[in-house]
């Protein structure tokens, strides 16, 4: 069995080896003595060694680990909420080109607010919708009208 560090080390090792393998196919310019793969191979080679070292360190550490220390537990964490928050933000990123900044931002801010603070009264729904509308409109006004920063227009809504 390997631990979290060992698994992370394996991911690093595998990724760097795959990328290293891809650098072998890079063509060299005959006029230039150092090809485009020279530096990436150094970086990826060192990363692979570090990834392997992390796996090794994890395996060695787990052999000498004390059961009492391993049993130490931290405070409870709400990982489900983190996954959902990432999901809501991912949805925002996906919908942004289609719906445009104002509509997508309104929906995202309202949904994220309701997710992070579940509504207990009808007024909470109103508060979330108001926050979404205010964020979308103020951000649009400040960036587009005042700072001349263009924001995404929706392909579907043209808004």
């Amino acid at each position: 069995m390997i631990g979290r560090d060992g698994l992370a080390g394996l991911v690093v090792l595998a990724t760097s080896l795959v990328l290293f393998w891809l650098t072998l196919g890079l063509e060299r310019n005959p006029l230039v003595p150092i090809g485009p793969g020279f530096y990436p191979r150094i970086v990826l080679g060192v990363t692979a060694v570090l990834g392997f070292a992390l796996v090794l360190a994890d395996v060695l550490a787990r052999r000498v680990a004390r059961p009492a220390a391993a049993a130490a537990a931290g405070p409870a964490r709400n990982y489900r909420l983190v996954v959902l928050a990432f999901g809501v933000f991912g949805g925002y990123v996906l919908l942004l080109p289609g719906l445009g900044f104002r509509i997508a931002t309104f929906l995202f801010v309202a949904a994220a607010n309701l997710l992070l603070e579940p509504p207990k009264r009808p007024s909470h729904w109103l508060r979330a919708l108001a926050l979404g509308a205010a964020t979308a409109l103020v951000a649009y006004y400040v960036f587009e009208q005042y700072l001349a920063v263009l924001l995404p227009r929706g392909h579907w809504t043209d808004f």
């Binding site: 631990g3 080390g9 020279f38 990436p40 964020t135 951000a139 400040v142």
Partner: protein, 511 residues
């Protein structure tokens, strides 16, 4: 030099620059006061607002954030015992006991004025040292620059107490980000994985925004709904009046403490990516060691507040020196500033001060002016800042994420940067959860291209690799890099022994 500085100060008093500077300082003070919102996060939030401004306006706003943020954390640290930012952790040790003893005004204003004087001492160093250091850097060839960047990277990666290997892997991931896309020497495509967008490489600002914003926000989201907020115990009727002359005398009558703490902050600021969080702790520790009454530390002694706050504001000056003279970001905040410069087509580094004197001296002027502005803001709004901590995170976080999205999108008006933001947001959070530090990743991303360019240039000028060691400055920097790794190994061993002695271990999960 001083003529130019004076003209810059006068120029910055024009409302066109003064308004962004004041607003930036307000944002910094408020962001600094909000527990869970760091200065890095605040500067990331402010970044998109600077896109439509001219470079000096934008950099004035960011300098204001940096200075304001370094001081903003002290209000909640002293009055509530909750440091608004990691830069004010040590301020809680004596600030909060002093406030509890019935002297909240004295505690807050000792911190504010110590920040002011420490910051001004940092400013003097910034103005005096940047030019000469940049001149030294102008003598550097590609060998020296390569070694300097390797030294910076090794220092940052090595400073991670918990795991040295993870620090180095984090830096290496940053370097890997920079090898995706066309090679910087000839533009030959490499490792694009068939994605057109990658041909131009991955811009570092969406990476930086993604890793820092998500790592911080999602780490707070984890804890939501699990514990009561700290705001229930707020004492809003607190009286913050104090005699300013007495407070200023209290600070200036301890010149050694002020100078030494500011020097500690400066030196830590000059070293890449250590930042104000270490500066205030180390300065506090030094002040305690040098004190004739170390037993008074932790009970509400003014020395503790002065040491912590003067160090964290002087630290800002040190960080700005590194970026302006060498083009190496001293921390994540200056990395964002570096990005802001790049957006406006300005290359930071040894030539910066000679090629863009108006902007360089404008930054000096903004830094100097931000301090009195910060003092005025504290006078006007210290009590209101206690209310700031009661802003619900459920309302704050979505708005911050929208601003991060705008910041990423507006870099080139494409959704690709927003996708980069999301991908690196997931990566950043994953790295934090698996115990990988983020600072080396950012330094790797910022310096990666420069490391490659200087390495290739050096080898194409002379293929003898020993020159990296035999050229005195280059060899010295590489030796310093090796020493920093050796020091890190010693520190890591000490940390492990301490953890073993305390009978605690890093949390790990079986798969």
């Amino acid at each position: 030099m001083y003529d130019l500085l004076w003209h810059s100060i006068v120029g910055l008093m024009h409302y066109k620059y003064l308004v962004p500077l004041v607003l930036g300082t307000v944002a910094g003070v408020v962001g600094g006061a909000l527990p869970g919102v760091t200065i890095t996060m605040t500067v990331i939030i402010v970044l998109p607002f600077t896109f439509g401004l001219d470079p000096l306006q934008g950099l004035a706003a960011m300098t204001g954030v940096y200075v304001g943020g370094s001081a903003g954390g002290l209000v909640t640290a002293t009055l509530l015992g909750i440091p608004g930012t990691p830069s004010s952790i040590a301020t809680t040790f004596d600030g909060n006991p002093m406030a509890k003893k019935g002297q909240p005004g004295r505690a807050v204003w000792l911190g504010v004025w110590a920040s002011f004087f420490g910051g001004l001492l940092g400013g003097l160093f910034l103005i005096a040292a940047t030019g000469p250091l940049a001149k030294i850097a102008l003598e550097f060839g590609p060998w020296e620059f390569f070694s300097l960047f390797i030294f910076a990277l090794s220092m940052v990666a090595g400073l991670m107490e918990a795991s040295l290997i993870k620090g180095f892997i984090s830096g290496a991931i940053g370097l890997i980000v920079t090898i995706l896309g066309n090679d910087p020497m000839l533009g030959a495509p490499r490792l694009t994985l068939g994605i057109d967008f990658l041909e131009g490489g991955i811009p570092f600002l969406p990476v930086l925004i993604g890793v820092f914003a998500f790592a911080q926000i999602m780490s707070d989201v984890e804890k939501m709904g699990r514990a009561g907020g700290p705001t229930s115990a707020l004492e809003r009727a607190v009286n913050l009046s104090a005699s300013h002359l007495k407070i200023i005398w209290e600070i200036l009558s301890r010149p050694f403490l002020l100078l030494w703490s500011s020097l500690v902050g400066l030196l830590i600021g000059v070293l890449p990516a250590i930042g104000g969080s270490a500066a205030n702790m180390i300065a506090y520790d030094q002040a305690k060691k040098f004190s004739r009454h170390p037993e008074r530390f932790g009970t509400g002694t003014p020395e503790g507040i002065i040491a912590s706050e003067s160090a964290n504001n002087a630290n800002v000056g040190g960080s700005l020196v590194t970026i302006m003279a060498f083009g190496i970001p001293g921390d994540a905040v200056t990395a964002v500033m570096l990005g802001a410069l790049t957006i406006h087509g300005i290359q930071s580094g040894p030539l910066f001060i000679s090629q863009h004197p108006r902007i360089a001296y404008g930054i000096f002027a903004a830094y100097l002016l931000a301090h009195p502005i910060m003092v005025i803001l504290m006078g006007l709004g210290a009590r209101a800042m206690l209310r700031v901590v009661s802003i619900p995170k459920a309302a704050l976080f979505p708005v911050v994420l929208v601003l991060c999205t705008v910041g990423a999108y507006a870099l080139s008006n494409t959704m690709s940067n927003v996708y980069v933001l999301l991908v690196f947001g997931v990566l950043g959070y994953g790295m934090v959860k698996t115990g990988f530090p983020l600072a080396p990743l950012i330094i790797g991303v910022v310096l990666g291209d420069q490391i490659e360019v200087n390495l290739i240039q050096a080898l194409m000028t002379d293929s003898n690799p020993w020159l990296f060691i035999t050229r005195p400055i280059s060899g010295g920097l590489l030796a310093a890099a090796v020493l920093s790794v050796v020091f890190a190994l010693w520190q890591h061993r000490r940390h492990r022994l301490r953890v073993a002695a305390q009978g605690t271990a890093e949390q790990d999960v079986d798969f």
